[in-house]
């Protein structure tokens, strides 16, 4: 083994390289690595948070959907009820109207009949007088005869 001043030269070179590495190489590399680790950790954390938010939003949406469905069902129910009610009311009104029309029809018919009866009675009276005039072939007391005929007519 031939030990010589190379020992010293190599030691000095070693010292210089280590100091340089310590000052200019290690810190920036480590800080880059640590920064990136922090970034990745942040990213993962926010991804997790986003997943939780998404879950929350989904459950909220489901709730709202359920609520909306219930509301819609209630509205449809009410509408159905209202429809039945309107139909009922209309039916009742129609029946009333019908009855009224029928009643007025009856009344009219009755009035018409009475009028026709009256007219008939008048005509029968005239006819009876004319008949009686012809039967008797001579004039009798017009007034007395009219009274008799009136009485007859009233008995009809």
């Amino acid at each position: 083994m031939n030990l010589n001043a190379t020992l010293l030269g190599q030691s000095i070179a070693f010292l210089v390289f280590v100091v340089f590495c310590m000052k200019y190489i290690w810190p920036p590399l480590m800080s880059a690595i640590e920064d990136r680790q922090a970034k990745i950790a942040d990213g993962l954390a926010s991804a997790e948070r986003a997943t939780k938010d998404l879950e929350l939003a989904q459950s909220k949406a489901t709730d709202q959907l359920k609520g909306a469905k219930a509301d819609a069902a209630a509205i449809v129910d009410a509408a159905n009820k209202r429809k039945a009610q309107i139909v009922d009311e209309a039916k009742t009104a129609a029946i009333t109207e019908r009855d009224k029309i029928i009643a007025s029809g009856y009344a009219e018919v009755e009035a018409e009949r009475n009028r026709a009866k009256e007219e008939l009675r008048q005509k029968v009276a005239v006819l009876a007088i004319a008949g009686a005039e012809k039967i008797l072939e001579h004039s009798i007391d017009q007034a007395a005869a009219n009274d008799i005929v009136e009485k007859l007519v009233a008995e009809l």
């Binding site: 031939n2 190379t6 070179a13 070693f14 390289f17 310590m22 200019y24 190489i25 880059a32």
Partner: protein
């Protein structure tokens, strides 16, 4: 290898000897000379590491990273996790230190996968026949031990910083037998274990890479049949390259966390 490119007749011994010779600069009779090839490749690869990681670190974004940034971040996170698993204190030094050790040693060890003759022969062509070039810095004990001793000094520094001089001395003298009469025994045992740490740390890396390089040289001596052998050993060696870098880094972290612990 080819005999014609070296001056004299080439024997296996001279071939391997040639490959194990460093390019030295300075007075070789004293301590004050350096293995220029080891330092050149080691500092060059260190600069590759620094520039590559710095270029990414400067433009590092915490948004979507590019492919290169992804790769760099995988390495950084791997080292960071290893440090966090082993060392439970707070230290701005240990993690960058571990990253530097890991990547730099991998780069230096990877030089072993370049066929053993390429760079030395290229150097011979450029600079002449008598130039030596060893391209794998970690097969030079100077490089491996320099790093392990640097770690050792950090261990001592942090031991004293955390526990104080008295705590450090107590750790050396009052363990494992907590009695004043055993102080010399404790001191011998603790000093041996203390010194063994950096020595074993450096020699383990050096030994593994040296052995691997030696086998590449032996394979290169086989001749034409070396190609499949070279491939098989290179594939296996990839594991050694990464494993040795990991072990060096891991033990550094363990030793430094032991230095931080107060008994």
């Amino acid at each position: 290898m080819s005999a014609s490119e070296h001056g004299e007749a080439l024997t296996p011994g001279s071939y391997i000897g040639h490959h194990l010779q460093n390019w030295t600069v300075g007075d070789t009779s004293t301590f004050w000379h350096v293995n220029a090839d080891s330092l050149l490749f080691s500092v060059g690869l260190g600069l590759v590491f620094i520039m590559l990681f710095w270029s990414v670190a400067r433009k590092a974004t915490s948004g979507v990273p590019g492919k290169l940034q992804c790769f760099i971040e995988i390495v950084v996170e791997f080292v960071d996790n290893t440090v966090k698993d082993t060392f439970h204190g707070k230290s701005a030094v240990i993690a960058p230190l571990a990253l530097t050790i890991f990547v730099w040693i991998i780069l230096m060890n990877t030089m072993d996968l370049i066929p053993v003759d390429w760079l030395p022969q290229a150097a011979n062509m450029v600079a002449g026949e008598d130039v030596y070039l060893r391209v794998v810095p970690t097969t030079d004990p100077n490089i491996a031990l320099a790093m392990s001793f640097s770690v050792f000094f950090l261990m001592i520094f942090y031991s004293i910083k955390i526990k104080g001089v008295s705590g450090f001395v107590r750790e050396l003298t009052m363990q494992p037998f907590n009695h004043w009469a055993f102080i010399p025994v404790n001191l011998v045992m603790e000093l041996v274990s203390l010194i063994a740490k950096p020595v074993s740390l450096g020699l383990r890396l050096f030994g593994n890479m040296y052995a691997g390089e030696m086998i590449f040289m032996l394979i290169a001596l086989v001749g034409v049949g070396q190609l499949p052998l070279h491939f098989v050993w290179a594939v296996f060696h990839i594991m050694v390259v990464i494993l040795q870098a990991f072990i060096f880094m891991m033990l550094t972290i363990v030793y430094l966390s032991m230095a931080h612990e107060d008994h």
